[in-house]
Amino acid sequence: MQLKGEMSMLNVLHIQDNDVSEICSKLEQKRDEAPQFFLQSPIVLDGSELSGNALEFDFSALKTGLLDLGFIPIGVRNFPPAANNIIRESGWAIMRDQQQTPRTAENKIETTEKSEPATPETVEEASQTKDNKPENQANTAVESNRSDIRSAMTVDRPVRSGQQVYAANADMTVLAPTSAGSEIMADGSIHIYGALRGRVLAGARGNESARIYCQSLQAELIAIAGRYQLLDESDTTLKGKPAMIRLEGEKIVIEAL
């Protein structure tokens, strides 16, 4: 038996009122827009924007509705503790509360219709070959986790194709080049004292102030707090040069270092 850590993109359903049938019918529309993406996708129910009374919310009905639509209800969060008993009785799991990013204030799952390939939905440990086929992309609500950046993780050997390194709650510093086909991820910023060739994902849990620094920008895919860009699709003049990458609003900005 092995207990492995995985990072997955979750769909978070933010509700504002108690109208379960309305919620379900909107979800049905959403699902039909991109069935391949939404069917069998995990849903977390977030009550931080609920203006109605949580104690009057019909959790059972929503759970049944979600299952009927082909979603997988995972759990709820950010509901008042007074509702815990009702929630448990309805069969929903109660997850840890998390703070919001302001941009996700909507009563539906957010999708952005672009034609670019999706970011991978699950990120598994090392050896398995990954399936990187483009799917319908959804910019799911990546909640910001504003926990403190405690320490920096340092990697002093080249990160090879197929390897992944992840600095949880920390910045990442790599003292060697990274290869095409590798993945560097951190909840904080990422500094690469060498060529950056693979995929790089900073602010992995939603920290929008995370940045990426490298000595030679040759990355395949760049992401900060869930917003991503393929280097080939950007018009930067800094390919192959020292660069600093940050997030400005929703846009990935690449500047000279």
Partner: protein, 269 residues
């Protein structure tokens, strides 16, 4: 102190078996007791390349399963003293390998006084390749100057540094880059990756460059490792690799495009 050296690549067909045969023969010719083991169970080639295919009675899997002793399976080379070959099974497949079995064979070879144990890995990153690299102290990563080979070599390097026994115990497998099928003319023409390009991508020390040579095919056909062909450039390059491995500092040969000779130069030398 015995050393286990894996000859691996990730990519298939780049010259692992050719290089294993040449390297092992080279070490043995310098006086070191050397065994070369074929890990490509089911698709064995090492015995063919070394010209001992008609002398195979027992194989690696027989030894692991206790169906024969190591001494019964090892084939002593008739041309080079100190050289022994442990062939793979042709009828079984890589599922017949397991860590304990492989470990016990390697330990027995070490106890038998072998200085070098060369493991000829199959292509890929699954069980056969994994078994070949697991017990390695050093690795020769064979790479063609070609993009998919370089990418696959990078992958196998990652696996070496994370999943070998040495890595599990906190150490590092010593890596050597061996570029094979190199054509300096095509590199200068801009068609082929240069050794500098490859080194930049893989970031490991270069142990040698073997030029593309027709003598390699002749060597396979005749069952004599190409290093035994003293006239062959590839053979000479392999000899340089062995010397460098043993600590000598030898400049790279056969990496510059030959000067185009004018008509009269060709006539009069």
């Amino acid at each position: 102190m015995s050393k286990v050296i894996v000859v691996t690549s990730g990519k298939g067909g780049v010259g692992k078996t050719t290089s294993s045969a040449a390297f092992a023969a080279g070490l043995a010719s310098k006086g070191y007791k050397t065994a070369v083991i074929d890990f490509d169970v089911g698709l064995r080639n090492l015995d063919l390349i070394m010209g001992v295919e008609r002398r195979v009675v027992y194989d690696f899997v027989n030894v692991i399963n206790g169906e024969s002793t190591l001494k019964q399976a090892l084939i002593k080379d008739k041309r080079v003293d100190n050289l022994y070959i442990l062939p793979a099974s042709q009828t079984r497949d890589k599922d017949a390998l397991n860590k304990e079995g492989v470990e016990s064979v390697i330990n027995e070879l070490k106890a038998d006084g072998f200085d070098y144990i060369v493991c000829d890995s199959p292509a890929g990153i699954e069980k056969g390749a994994f078994m070949a690299l697991y017990f390695a102290d050093e690795a020769i990563v064979v790479t063609n100057p070609e993009v998919s080979s370089v990418r696959d070599s990078d992958r196998i390097l990652g696996i070496l540094q994370s999943r070998s026994k040495v890595a599990e115990e906190g150490g590092t497998v010593k890596e050597h880059l061996l570029i094979t099928r190199y054509s300096p003319e095509r590199v200068e023409g801009g068609d082929m990756l240069s050794k500098e390009d490859i080194q930049e991508i893989l970031s490991i020390p270069l142990i040698g460059v073997i030029p593309e040579s027709g003598t390699v095919l002749q060597a396979s056909n005749s069952g004599n490792p190409v290093i035994m062909d003293k006239e062959s450039k590839a053979g000479q390059a392999y000899m340089d690799v062995v010397s460098r491995f043993l600590g000598e500092n030898i400049p790279l040969r056969f990496v510059e495009a030959e000067e185009k000779k004018g008509f009269f130069k060709k006539l009069f030398g």
